[in-house]
């Protein structure tokens, strides 16, 4: 039997969900692989939802909203786009970025709805089953996805993504427009840092480990691990444990 992917779809109530309904009313046929969750707005789709779906072994996640400018809630879909971009960047660190997609489908685009769904299903089929699916999921990857889930939910990432549009498109608190490239640089760095930090936190969950252990396990430069440790320590998430030989170990708090 050929591979039949399981795909989760988040559809906004006002455009995409209506579009899907229209496809039904018009009896337009498309593959049955997507299960839909109706949300009031694509802006409601928390990055955590997407990651959790992947963590549970779904082969793909599709987020759909109104076309730019058409949002029932004025700019919810713009927010959705920023959050999606961030999520994608995070997932690219684990090599899962192609398993999620964002697209705009209006209430009148029943045909288009069926097209984009078909395309996504086919693309996922080509990618094959999720490595997190099945009896023996890829444990290492699973850990990384969990780290991403924690990272996208962190206050720092939420704060950055939540204010991104305001400060890069309108004006920041000083009445200036913050340059987008500079913000993206900052965002990319924050994504990398938070991903690594949450991987460290997860790795420390069961056992306390030294910087060198973590560096080897996670393939991060040890000096960078140490830097992360200091930040995590200031956030009261880790602390120094005992010293074995000449090597101090860290414990998760």
């Amino acid at each position: 039997m050929s591979f039949e992917p399981k795909i989760l779809g988040f559809l906004c109530n006002w455009c995409s969900y209506a579009g899907a309904d229209l496809a039904g009313v018009s009896r337009i046929q498309y593959p049955p692989n997507m299960r839909v969750i109706r949300v009031m707005c694509s802006g409601r789709v928390d990055p955590k939802f997407i990651i959790q779906a992947l963590e549970l072994g779904l082969d793909g996640v599709f987020v759909m909203g109104c076309h730019p400018g058409d949002c029932h809630y004025l700019d919810g879909n713009y927010e959705a786009e920023k959050k999606f971009e961030m999520t994608k960047k995070f997932l690219s660190l684990a090599g899962l970025e192609d398993r999620i997609r964002l697209d705009w489908v209006s209430a009148s685009e029943g045909k288009r709805y069926s097209e984009v769904v078909t395309k996504f299903v086919n693309d996922i089929k080509e990618l094959g089953p999720s490595p997190l699916n099945g009896e023996e999921p890829d444990e290492e990857l699973l850990e990384n996805v969990r780290a991403i889930k924690a990272a996208v939910s962190s206050e720092r990432m939420r704060a950055l993504v939540g204010r991104e549009r305001k400060i890069t498109e309108e004006e920041n608190v000083y009445g200036e427009k913050f340059p987008e490239e500079k913000f993206n640089e900052l965002m990319d760095l924050a994504i990398k840092e938070e991903y690594e930090r949450h991987r460290i936190l997860l790795a420390l969950e069961k056992y306390s480990k030294s910087v060198k252990d973590l560096a080897k396990e996670l393939d991060i430069d040890p000096s960078l691990v140490l830097e992360h440790m200091l930040v995590l320590k200031s956030r009261s998430q880790v602390d120094f444990g005992e010293i074995i030989g000449n090597t101090p170990v860290f414990i998760r708090l």
Partner: protein
Amino acid sequence: MEKVGAVMIVGAGIGGSQAALDLADSGYKVYLIESTTSIGGVMAQLDKTFPTNDCAMCIVSPKLVETGRHQNIDLSINCRILDVSGEAGNFTIKVLKKTLYINPDICTGCGVCGRECPVEAIDLFNEGLAKYAATSVKYPQAVPLVYAINRDYCVGCGICLAVCKAKAVEYEREDEEVDINVGAIILAPGFDEYIPKAANLYGYGKYKNVVTSIEFERILSASGPYAGRVLRPSDGDIPEKVAFLQCIGSRDYSGNGQPYCSSVCCMYTAKEAVIAHEHMHQIKPTIFSMDIRAYGKDFDKYIIRAQEEYGVQYIRSRISSIKEVPETKDLRIRYETEDGKVMEEDFHMVVLAVGLNPPNDAKYLAEKFGVELNEFGFAKTDKFNPVQTSKPGIYACGAFSSPKDIPDTVTQASAAAGCVNQLLYEKRGTLITEKTLPPEIFVNGQPPRIGVFICHCGINIGGFVDVPEVTRYAGTLPNVVLTDRNLYTCSADTQTIIKDKIKEYHLNRVIVASCTPRTHEPLFQETIREAGLNRYLFQMANIRDQCSWVHMNEPEKATEKAKDLVRMAVNKAREIEPIERIRLPVTPKALVVGGGISGMVAALNFASQEYETFLVEKQEELGGFARNIYHTLEGGNVQELLADLINKVKSNKSIHTYTDAEIENIDGYIGNFKTSIIHGKNKERVEFDHGVVIVATGAKEYQPKEYLFGQNENVILQSEFEKMINSTDKLKNKKSIVMIQCVGSRNEEHPYCSKMCCAEAIKNALLTKEKNPDLEITVLFRDIRTYGFKEKYYRKAREAGVIFLRYDEDNPPKIVSEDSILKVEVSTPRKEIININSDLLVLSAGIYSDREENEELAKMLKVPLNDDNFFLEAHVKLRPVDFATEGVFVAGLAHCPKTIEDSISQANAAVSRACTILSKEEIEAEGKTAMIIPERCIGCGMCIENCAYNAIELIDDRRFGRIAQINQALCKGCGACSGNCRCAAIDVLGFTGEQVFAMITGRC
């Protein structure tokens, strides 16, 4: 132009802060201008200080808090000098106060903004070792504790505004320009450390495990990024083998660094090595250095201890390059040992002892203030007065004029203040503000009516402790007649509320449950005093720093604890009584003991401020040690200076000089001394009253027993040699001169460095070479200690052909006299024996202090001597001219061997410290002092032994017999006497036994 009774101090490190406190306490308005966002400078970054291993933060932070709170100090942070005009006595300075984007008057320093800031920037205070938010404070104990937004990192997201409950964030806040009118200026901008990046010789910036000494200082610090664990940055392991490389960017003629010696690196390196080993015993430090320049008081002992007790290894070698071993990130060092072998060794970590450069903005400051810089880019100062810049009315102190350590900086800070006193003394008290307070409400005998104010501190307390519940509970406690809770109890509007409630409810005890009394008690005490209550009718319960913040995950238990803490405060409040601060009159006269340079400078400074001064000299003539010195190494004419000083002293009407004098007795205490002396040929007895004492009794030149001194006329002392060069032509027929250093210094009898001998030898060698270039001069030394800019002359001497040969302490040169020739045999570190035939042997004899003479005076003044018989100051780092006994100060050689310039600084510093007393008609002593319960005292005298301030004596009381008595003027209220009193006959006001018991008891 009319003089102005205000002073501007530029730079608020330890030097600037000390000068500010001295002047503010002497009746001047002080404008303290700081370029960064908090005061404390480099000292606040240090872990420990040498040679006592004192915790830097512990000793500096009370001083900083005092500076931040002083009502005559106007502190401005984040400032830049724009323009300066005017002249000595009346300057106007335009200052740019850069915005912090946070209102410093409202910010409570709670730090929520920093925790929520999503942008991570580098934390400069920790030297880039840790990360910090764009909204930050320099360090947790910063003064003022005000957060600032760093616009370089801020993206303008607005989160800090949203989380700040105090509403202190003001993005629209703009820079402000102000004109400040002052009579004098003190420049104390400090230094910037040499960054070895440019040369990249040592792999700094390239190899992770190569750090600078200041970075290592943060690594050592308990409040640093690694919380006091010594870890190497590459992988977080504890480095077992740590190499310290000296003279990085100092004594460097290659053009990469600076040619001078940075003066402090030898000692701070020894300290860092010792502390590293102390923190982590597996660490074995190795120090690579050329000379070990441990020239200060008790420094040599520290170096010896480092080697003997802490296993610090010294290798005399200068390392030129380091290579990283790629697999381990260890560092491979190649070096040549003194006996010529080339070695290669791997270390886990390398610390570069970086030198002190002039501050980065030295040129800018010099230009604005119109002062000259010297050839090295430091402030140029007077030959004999190291705090006087090239412009009258502008003084410099600390590392801005030359690299120096903390005590020298503090001394200079006071010295600069001493010079300001001379300039502005007539305007003292004209610009300071004195508050008029309502008379105190009489509360004695009334039942306690306690008001409890509980603070939410935004979410800092309220987020974790159930404040309404604590408030309810407080209301149930006996005698509590009012409870109130506030978002921020420290805010200005709450102060008004507190005052109103005191009146409305007739409160006679006030409790605030909020943050720490260490920073906020004075504020609330001031508030209740303004409402007419004695300021000691106040108690604080620390439910933030020691409760909500440290039990964030256990809100219920934190609430329980907060209730207990409030109950304990209420229990104590019931027992507290008003305390009167004692006022003591001050006799505005000074006694200066010793008529050398230090003594005369001090006397003249006092006299120029119209204080009557008694100058007492043991010998028949004034002048002291300096009478044997002709020039300084830098070319200052000492005899000219001396003649000038003696002349001025003799002609000054305010100075009473007594020569051939002996002190018979000194009685009394701060502000109120009585002294009798016997002077002159006729042994006349004189008695006088005075308010302060300066000890400037000097020291003596060692008379060697070694090297045939006294047996062979061709063996002479450096002082005799100086006389020979300057006043005879005996040099002409000499062919070879040998000088031996450290004669009577750094040995068992005198285990300290005499500091001046290296400079003396080089000075005389240079002068000799000038007069007779063909004369061969060999200097036999152990370490050449030409610290600071004196290094220049060491190089000059080597260029002039003076030969320097090192010998070991264990293997001193041997002298054989044959006819008129002295044969000198030296064994060098290369194990070679060198024979020199010389016709003159010059011994660099050390300086020593006579125990018997000093002990007599020390006993009269109740001040201590150290093991080497020099006078021991109150605190080696921060109170270098004070004694623990108040009103008594020290200057010059009596303190330890030092140069003439340093002695002059110390004399002026001692005067400045004394002026903080003499400038007042009466002094107010701390109210929380010990007190004797006479009916319990048996007069055993135990308390006298325990008192570090000599505040207790035994008296014969008419009713109680022999009992102890406490001099409240001297008592500091530590309670050591009370805790040890076997009869429980001593109590401490503010912390009485009853009050502590009330806190101990679990009941209400």
